[in-house]
Symmetry: C2
Subunit: 370 residues, 2 copies
């Protein structure tokens, strides 16, 4: 596994290597590399079997070494959501990047132009203002910038509203010498990936009938990923959370508890009553994301317990029964509701195998929201 | 105002000084210094008028220059929630620090001992395990560590469960030569600050009758802060969010829209339908904190609009009416539900006066969750 150790910032961290994860100070994000590798292998094999290009979304981990691991396993490229994320990845040598975001404004466009000069870059657009800005920015560049038209196939996010509107925007893109229309992109409504693919097939047919080839048709989403191979028109699939998995994906039966690679390690700091434990992980460690669930995480060692509330630095655990355990000072591991927002809160993750710390990785693209 | 400019990390940021905040790239956190200063002055004056020591909680801003501003205005000291926050503040010269957290584990205790050597430090404890750890850590130190007993006066957070239990723990603290019992601390249940103060008065009386002076009785919370002067027994008040204010405090009638100093600046990146705008601030900029509200923020320039959903990097705005404005590329300012978790997501905040950027401050204690 191509993970290079990054500079560790103090002796405490350096001394952890080779030791049990129980020695990590809390709260901290712990990543089981064996589970990560199995997650990556499993979905890569599925995509390979179905002739589908897998383009991992790095928003989940924001760590170049992990993106490189996904590329080595067979990904066709990576997906970023922000220029800042893509810059970090390009700096680390990732060479095929799709940014699924409307890029606007002089500062970001200037950075986009520089980025396009050092990697194979594709961006999405769903309106004429964005297309005009991209075209003006790329004028005179050595080669045109690849553009996918973002389509709202039912999720109510960004995107043109009909296959006809997709064709219209594709024509406008193709009319600019500095841009190259490359295809279509959507994030489908949950559970409606099939309908989204049909929408895209119709838009693709309209484009091709108009003389606009559509070599890339990109769909995505971890929740529906196990049906990605049956979507016909779709050539590439974007997924992020499958890398770590989380409680929301257990609830949707996309993965099992044992497939969750990311946990938040926390310490029980108070046992004010027999049924209540308080931990040192609150909304600044677990986030307030519910994703439709009750409570803020699952504790595998206390499967009946509920993390029923969070303040900023405390989590409140209902132990359900009066219980001696956990005691003040005990450490517990929590599978958070949503792994992607958790990893964005921390500077580093602690990588483990067989319960021992093997590496400490900096979350290099953390907070790169611009 | 004693704000020193910190090193700016690129020319784009440096060129912003003196310019309109509209030039700041998005998403970004913008802080109006005139509003901050008015917020600080107003509550400091209230505490002064009521003979109450104000101890601001720096978790809200995590910026040493802002803590210094609060001290200059008349605060008795500052309040931190984590050792890491306190270290950043001590490094910057803040000299009287209360950490309202049970400190546990060898790594944190070693840091606590070093911290106690360079500032006037007080910590809280609510159980014997924590007290024993603190006592062992401080053994042989030049002077004893000041301890407040944390009391659960009804909020169901940390804290001993009765005034009698407070006395019991105070006795145990006083028995250790390395520790000094200094008083009581609580975070009251919302709207029940009066009952909390009565609880504390009873505990204080028990302690004093037992020969244990209780010079510090600390309560807190921005939502109930305008009643802090009527709590009798309470000698110090901890408040954090009053520094910035936010949408949750508007909803609770603690402040007005004009008192909100922190806004998230965002760009409209898509207008897929007549009634929907999509902005480049999602849960990684605004957080998913609801605090009992509907929606994820208030847009003063679009008071009828609702930020009805967030993905990680997009916010979804229902404009209520079909509307030409805002257009793609327009910037809007959002008052978030909860300012404290928002400022923890960013590396820097942009300080403005009269709409112009006057400084860029690093959120030095961001992510210091250990």
């Amino acid at each position: 596994m191509p993970i290079s150790s990054l500079p560790l910032d103090d002796d405490t961290n350096r001394n952890l290597i080779g030791q049990s994860f129980e020695g990590i100070d809390t709260p901290a994000v712990v990543v089981d590399l064996d589970v990560v590798e199995a997650n990556v292998r499993r979905f890569q094999a599925y995509c390979d079997d179905h002739g589908l290009g897998l383009r991992p979304h790095i928003k989940t981990h924001k760590i170049p070494e992990f993106a490189a691991l996904q590329m080595t396993a067979g990904a066709v490229g990576i997906n970023c959501q922000k220029i800042g994320e893509a810059e970090v990845m390009a700096d680390a040598g990732l060479s095929d990047i799709l940014i699924t975001f409307n890029i606007l404004g002089p500062a970001k466009l200037a950075r986009l132009r520089r980025l396009a000069e050092r990697c194979a870059l594709t961006v999405t657009a769903d309106n004429e203002t964005v297309v005009a800005g991209l075209a003006a920015t790329m004028a005179g560049a050595g080669q045109p910038l690849d553009i996918l038209v973002e389509c709202d196939t039912g999720a109510g996010r960004c995107g043109v509203q009909s296959p006809e509107a997709a064709l219209d925007l594709a024509r406008r893109i193709a009319a600019f010498p500095a841009l190259r229309f490359r295809g279509l992109m959507t994030y489908p409504k949950a559970g409606a990936a099939r309908a989204a693919a049909d929408w895209l097939a119709k838009a693709k047919a309209l484009c091709e009938a108009d003389g606009l080839p559509c070599p890339v048709v990109s769909s995505g989403g971890t929740p529906d990923m196990w049906g990605a191979g049956d979507l016909g028109t779709v050539t590439e699939y974007r997924a992020g959370t499958y890398f770590y998995n989380d409680r929301s994906l257990i609830a949707r039966k996309v993965c099992a508890v044992a497939d969750c690679a990311l946990t938040v390690l926390a310490t029980v700091v108070s046992r004010p009553t027999a049924g209540r434990a308080i931990i040192d992980a609150g909304s600044k460690a677990l986030t307030s994301d519910l994703l439709g669930l009750e409570g803020y995480g699952f504790i595998p060692s206390l499967p009946k317990a509920s993390i029923y509330a969070l303040s900023e630095e405390h989590g409140f655990v209902d132990l359900r029964d009066d219980a001696d355990r956990p005691a003040v000072g005990d450490k517990i591991r929590i599978i958070p509701n949503h792994a992607c927002v958790v990893s964005n809160l921390v500077e580093r993750v602690y990588a483990i195998r067989d319960g021992k710390v093997v590496d400490i990785l900096r979350v290099q693209a953390r907070g790169r929201s611009q």
